[in-house]
C-alpha cells in the first residue's frame, strides 16, 4: 500500500523533476566549459585573447553565476520538490506552472550570462547579472517556492523533521536575502563602501544560507533513508539548525578585515565565524556518527558514498574556513586565491557532491531506469580526484600567494604571481578532469530522462505548446 503511494508521488514528480535535473546538467556543463576557459586564460594570456566577449574577468564571473544559479538553482528546485513531496506524502501540484516558471528561470539566467559577457555587468557580488533579468528570476523563483510550500502545507504528518527545516529555510532565505540586497543596492542605493558591505554580505550569505542548508537537508534525508537507521544524536539537529540561522548571516563579513569599513564589521564577522564551530560540529556528528555505524554500506551504495564525501568535505573545509577568518591569518590570505578554495570547496566539494548522490538515488525512482554502475563509479572517482586536486592546488597556492604578497621586497608579477603560476596550471588540469566527469554524469542523466532522443523532441514540443497555451 505504502509503495503505491510513493509511486504515485514519484509519478507526479517525474516531468517536473526531470526538467530541472536535465537543465541543471546543461548548466553544469556550461559552467565547466567556462571554468576551463578562465583557467586556461590564467596560464596562457593569449588563449582566445582576440575575443573581448571572453575576457578573463567576464568569463570568471559568468562561470560563478552559471554554477550557482544555473546548476545550483535548478538542482535546488528538483531536490526541494521531490524531498518535500516524499516527506509530506503529497503529490506535486501545479506542474504546468512549475515548468513555466522553470523555463523562465533558465531563460533569465541565459540572458543574464549573455549580458555579463556583453559588458552589462553589475558591480555587486553574485548579483552581477544585468539589472533587468532579476525581476524575472525573482518572479519565477517565487512561483516555484510557493508551489513547494503548497506541497509542504498539504503534508500528512504535522510533525516536521530536520531535512524539512533545512530545505524550507533555504527556500525562504533566498528571496529574503535577495530583497534585502536589491533594496539596499538598487532601490535605495547608499554611497561609499556601504553597498560593498551589503553586496559582500549577500554574495557570501547566498552560499551559507541557500546552497549549504539545501545540501545539509538532502544529507539529513538521504543518510537515514538509505542506511535504514535513525540519525545518531538527532536531538542536536535542532540546535545545529538554529545556530546556522543565527550565526551564519553575521559570520560572512570577516572578509572585510582591514578594509575601508567600520572596524566592528569584520570584528563581529570573525567572532561569529569562530562560533560557527558549533553548527559544523553538530552536522558532522549527526552525519558521521550515523554513517560510520555501517561503513561498508556507505562504501557500497554509491549515492551514499557521494553524500558522505560531501559531508566530510563540509566538515574539514568549514573548520579550515574558521582558521582563515582569524584576523592575523586573514591579513595574509584574504586577497589570495584562497578565496577560490572557499568557493570551490563549498559549491563543488560539498554542495555538488551531495546533489550528485541525491540525483543518483532519486532518478531511478522517478523514471524507473537505473544508470550504469561503471558510469556512476567513473563519475565518483574522477569527481573526487578532480575536486581533491583542485582544492589542494587552491589551498597551497593560496597560502603561497598570500605569504609572498606580504613581502614588499618581492616584485609583484615576476616573483609573487609567477610563484603561483604552477598552481594555476594544476587547477586547469583539475577542471579538465572535472569537466569529463560531469560530462559522463550529464550524458547518463539525459539518457535516463530521454531514453529515445526523437521521442524527447516531440515530448518537449508538446510541453512547450502546453506552456504557451
Amino acid at each position: 500500500m505504502k509503495d503505491t503511494a510513493e509511486q504515485v508521488i514519484d509519478r507526479s514528480a517525474k516531468t517536473v523533476v526531470s526538467f530541472f535535473i536535465a537543465s541543471a546538467g546543461l548548466w553544469l556543463l556550461a559552467a565547466a566549459l567556462l571554468a576551463y576557459v578562465a583557467a586556461a586564460k590564467l596560464t596562457d594570456p593569449f588563449f582566445l585573447s582576440s575575443f573581448e566577449l571572453l575576457t578573463y574577468g567576464k568569463v570568471k564571473v559568468a562561470q560563478a553565476n552559471a554554477f550557482v544559479y544555473g546548476w545550483g538553482g535548478n538542482s535546488i528546485f528538483a531536490v526541494t520538490l521531490w524531498i518535500l513531496a516524499r516527506l509530506s506524502q503529497a503529490e506535486i501540484r501545479g506542474r504546468i506552472l512549475l515548468l513555466f516558471a522553470g523555463a523562465l528561470w533558465n531563460l533569465g539566467i541565459t540572458f543574464g550570462l549573455l549580458g555579463i559577457l556583453d559588458g552589462h555587468m553589475n558591480a555587486h557580488e553574485m548579483l552581477e547579472m544585468p539589472t533587468s533579468v532579476w525581476p524575472v528570476l525573482f518572479i519565477s523563483y517565487s512561483i516555484i517556492a510557493f508551489l513547494a510550500l503548497v506541497i509542504h502545507r498539504s503534508r500528512m504528518q504535522n510533525e516536521t523533521i530536520a531535512p524539512q527545516w533545512f530545505i524550507l529555510a533555504s527556500l525562504i532565505w533566498f528571496p529574503a536575502l535577495f530583497l534585502i540586497a536589491w533594496n539596499g543596492l538598487e532601490i535605495n542605493p547608499s554611497r561609499g563602501t556601504l553597498p560593498s558591505v551589503l553586496s559582500l554580505w549577500f554574495g557570501q550569505s547566498l552560499i551559507w544560507l541557500w546552497l549549504t542548508p539545501m545540501a545539509l537537508g538532502a544529507a539529513y534525508y538521504l543518510i537515514p533513508t538509505i542506511l535504514g537507521r535513525p540519525i545518531d544524536k538527532y536531538y542536536l539537529a535542532i540546535f545545529g539548525f538554529w545556530c546556522i540561522a543565527a550565526l551564519a548571516p553575521w559570520s560572512v563579513v570577516h572578509h572585510l578585515e582591514g578594509g575601508p569599513v567600520p572596524m566592528w564589521i569584520p570584528a563581529i564577522g570573525t567572532v561569529m565565524s569562530i562560533a560557527m564551530i558549533f553548527p559544523i560540529a553538530v552536522a558532522s556528528t549527526n552525519f558521521h556518527a550515523t554513517a560510520f555505524q555501517d561503513i561498508s554500506k556507505v562504501w557500497n551504495v554509491l549515492p551514499l558514498r557521494f553524500v558522505i564525501f560531501g559531508t566530510i568535505s563540509y566538515t574539514l573545509s568549514s573548520y579550515i574556513g574558521v582558521i582563515f577568518s582569524l584576523p592575523d591569518v586573514a591579513k595574509v590570505t584574504q586577497f589570495s586565491i584562497i578565496n577560490e578554495f572557499h568557493f570551490n570547496q563549498r559549491v563543488y566539494g560539498f554542495f555538488s557532491m551531495i546533489i550528485f548522490g541525491l540525483v543518483y538515488y532519486m532518478l531511478p525512482k522517478i523514471t524507473g531506469k537505473e544508470i550504469g554502475k561503471s558510469a556512476k563509479s567513473f563519475h565518483f572517482w574522477t569527481s573526487a580526484f578532480g575536486v581533491l586536486i583542485l582544492l589542494l592546488a587552491y589551498l597551497i597556492g593560496g597560502l603561497t600567494h598570500g605569504v609572498l604578497a606580504q613581502q614588499p621586497s618581492l616584485d609583484w608579477s615576476s616573483s609573487v604571481i609567477s610563484s603561483v603560476q604552477p598552481y594555476f596550471i594544476i587547477t586547469k588540469y583539475a577542471f579538465v578532469i572535472l569537466g569529463f566527469s560531469q560530462l559522463v554524469f550529464v550524458v547518463n542523466v539525459w539518457k535516463v530522462i530521454f531514453p529515445n532522443p526523437f521521442a524527447c523532441c516531440f515530448a518537449s514540443d508538446s510541453e512547450s505548446k502546453g506552456k504557451t497555451a
Binding site: P45, E52, T55, Y56, G57, K58, K60, I116, H120, M121, A123, L149, H152, R153, N158, T160, W165, L168, A169, I172, W173, L177, I180, S190, R191, G192, T193, L194, V197, L198, L200, W201, I238, W242, A245, W250, H255, L256, G258, G259, P260, V261, P262, I265, K331, Q334, F335, S336, I337, N339, A405, Q406, Q407, P408, W412, S413, S414, I417, S418, V420
Partner: protein, 162 residues
Amino acid sequence: MNNIFKFSFGILSTLAFAWLAFVVGASLQYGDLSPEVQSFEQNGSGWVRPTGDNDFYPKDISGLAKQGAEEYLALGCATCHTQQVRLFTRKGDKGKRVPIAGTDIERGWGKRASMPRDYILQNHVMLGNTRIGPDLANVGMNEYNDEWLHQHLFEPQSLVAD
C-alpha cells in the same frame, strides 16, 4: 517548528538582525559622509573652514575617468584587482591598537590606508577580493606616460617581465 508561519518568522528574524546591523546600523554610522575640507585657516576667532571651495576632498573625477570606471566594471577587472589599501595595526601601549604602515603601503599602493570617505563620489565601488593583479586604489599616484599605459593594457607581456 511545525507551523510554517512561526518557522518563517523565526528564520527571517535572524536575517533581520543582521540587516539591522550591516545595513541600517552601518548607514546610520557613516552613510552621510560628505566631501570635507582638508585644511583649516586661522582668523581672529580661531580655526575655521576656508571660504573657497578649492580644498574639498574627495573631488569628483573627470568625465574621461568616469568612462574608464565603466570599462573597469564591464570587463570584470575587479575579479583580479582590489581597490583598497588595508589598515594594519599593532598593539600599542595600554593594549590600544595603533595603525602602522602595512605591506600594502610598503608596496607603494598608497600613502595611507583607504578610508570610507575616499569612495563616496564613486558610482560603482569595487573593493575587490582577489589580488592576482596589484591594488589599483591609488594607481593614479604613479606617473605613467600615455604610451606606456596604452601598451600595458593591450600587450602587457611586452612590458612586464613574466
